[in-house]
Symmetry: C2
Subunit: 470 residues, 2 copies
Amino acid sequence: MKLKIFPLAIAASFLMSLNATAEQVPSFSDEDLRVAAELRDQALETTMDYDIVESLTTEVGPRMAGTPGDAAAVKWGVAKLEELGFDKVWTEPVTFPTWKRGVETAEVVAPYPQPLVITALGFSIATPEEGLSAEIIQFDDLAALESAPANAAEGKIVFIRNRMERARDGSGYGPAVAARGQGASAAAKKGAVGILIRSIGTDTDRMAHTGVMRYEDGVKKIPAAALSAPDADLLENMTRRGNPVTVKMNIGAQNGEEYTSHNVIGEITGSEKPEEYVIIGAHLDSWDLGTGALDDGAGIGITTAAAKLILGLPERPKRSIRVIMFANEEQGLVGGKAYAEAHKDDIQNIITAAESDFGAGKIWRIDSKVKPEALSAVKQMAKVMEPLGISYGNNLAGGGPDLIPLRGKGISVFSLRQDGTDYFDYHHTPNDTLDKVNPESLNQNTAAYVIFAYLSAQMEGDFGTGFNQK
Amino acid sequence: MKLKIFPLAIAASFLMSLNATAEQVPSFSDEDLRVAAELRDQALETTMDYDIVESLTTEVGPRMAGTPGDAAAVKWGVAKLEELGFDKVWTEPVTFPTWKRGVETAEVVAPYPQPLVITALGFSIATPEEGLSAEIIQFDDLAALESAPANAAEGKIVFIRNRMERARDGSGYGPAVAARGQGASAAAKKGAVGILIRSIGTDTDRMAHTGVMRYEDGVKKIPAAALSAPDADLLENMTRRGNPVTVKMNIGAQNGEEYTSHNVIGEITGSEKPEEYVIIGAHLDSWDLGTGALDDGAGIGITTAAAKLILGLPERPKRSIRVIMFANEEQGLVGGKAYAEAHKDDIQNIITAAESDFGAGKIWRIDSKVKPEALSAVKQMAKVMEPLGISYGNNLAGGGPDLIPLRGKGISVFSLRQDGTDYFDYHHTPNDTLDKVNPESLNQNTAAYVIFAYLSAQMEGDFGTGFNQK
């Protein structure tokens, strides 16, 4: 009633402030929550997510960055998104150096000759063609190697025996993987001619786990490979006997030409604010040893099937939803960096983002990175996920590896945290195959992603930006 | 009272009959049962069994018949038995044809090119050096292949997809393994140029299971290999799409020279009836892919450690005990056949026998093959095993693969039946390594074997012979 006595400017200012307040408390309508619950229940019944993983692993299989499998995967991704009826499907170029695996064998030469199962680490140089034979010197972990006296490993092959610990959240990976990433240069600094690490994994299968390593600038490059867990045990057992153990390793890896792959993007175009969009994504590349069913075929299946369920609604959601199949995550988050760079000028259009890249285990927790005012909406969202066994965690979400570059620019992200208890049994090994994907767990993931994507696209207000996370 | 009126001859005959009756009810003294229980309890605390498996797998590793590992294993066996203080240690020659594994790769050529993980079956011939490419034709099992029309597989590579079922007693092996043993000749009869079978195993690891196959006389020999379970799944998934699937396989296997290996025998010489003896044994050879920890390092560790505990007693047992490490079980029970042939003239000296060759799972049942009069003694023996969770089964024991030739000559045998639920996850694969051996389960096995060996050596009376089993 008082309103009519206000001058127009004051009234306008008041309305803006009301509007600002409204935007400060983002929320979902009852109808949106109802639809989200419906989509969730549909997701629990779908076979689409599994069918997509089956299609990718069967029709493409291994798709390491820069290989013919990479090109086949991009072609597959475009065709799949078009076949599923996305409103727009396009690719964006991603350029990177390549690396090729060659022969990779090793054996104990003395005192107890027998073969070892190894795999070269990504970007390792080759040994001489006739192989590299040297005595091994064992270290408990990277820190022990780094604190060894200068020349401690002179002329030897360093063997780092550290074991990764199993954990639901995969928290054993970080401490263990340093040996893979930095071990070669650390060993070279102590005079080593090669390095073998115990595989960064939690299994006891006689399969070695690959993954990238990096050479430090200015340090001599030496060949680097991972031993399977049983072979690392074997070297420990031989070493414990006290006599010198001589190992021969042959690595035929080489760097290749620069290659241009593509991020593959499918968009559901929003009905009200088409320029604003939610990202759900996964990476399309894999390592070469398995068929990349868990890493990251599962993520491709989950996010694509979630979007397809939304495409099945009678109306498009208010905002757009982009499924991004990132190129070359494995060798340096290259697709994620390319996307962040290509879209740096309209980054404010990204309402929020989540990547699925931790296998096919069930989601047990949802974490957010949103402005405080949006937390009540996040909890509304989490409530719809509750029947899936998912509870709200905290506001410290990371969002996923390919979102690191975008996250660095301050966008809101969510982490739908999967049970990774078994993930590192298979990670980066030949054992990453379709049979490891549990269709029921996959459905649960798809259900969570469809709730996340749909509600984020429908939300009144926004999650905020400018978080400036690293 | 009436006795004194009998003529001497009648009295003698009566006494003989009494004596015969006594022998018809074999039994153990209370002291023997007490010692057996003590040995059992010592076995549960020993590390010797595990240490022996560790020594064999570390210091020798793979020891396929006819390879340098075979020779190293024989040397190791003699040294180990001598080091442990057996009264006599000797070897007996075992001669056989050999087979060598070479390159073994396969790939789908069309419609979805990707590599496959295979391993050649023992005695497979090689493909042409440039490989063998052909369309695959899928069969549900060997029976389906055998009942297919003539020329059904003309020019094709047969793919048999049958799956082995998991069971505690390993009963899924027999029905499934026919495809491995007889598949190649069955396929060749239908015009096939090669055969790929789903590995005979219960795991889902991307490792193929090797094992012997045989060519039928007069049938064309074609190369034969096993696919890992995930790769068999992959071929099924490709085949289901309805288009021809072309596979290329390269097998570089070849037959080698005749080779003479040795059974390695360690004897504890009996104090009263040294010529009579109990056999406990296992096979010393392994396949080449793993380190033969389960197959059959575990059996070597169990039986050798059991005997060593008996060597630790203040007195030698009444009868002798022989630990036999059989040569070349894997490629045709050759060591078992050689032993039976070499000892055919004094076979009556074998009081009974048991072989451990089913991994390191706990024993859950003891079966016997003895004369009916000895069953009460067997049940006394089983009673001492009861605290180990072992109960008596039946009188239809098989005794173990290397005892088949001896069993055919009618000797008494026992089967100490192990839990084989997981055994075929690792059987004949690279995954047969030391980490799969559970020291506690191994102890339980050693405890059962020491009871069996000691009581059989001490028993009043015998288990009988002449069972004429096949």
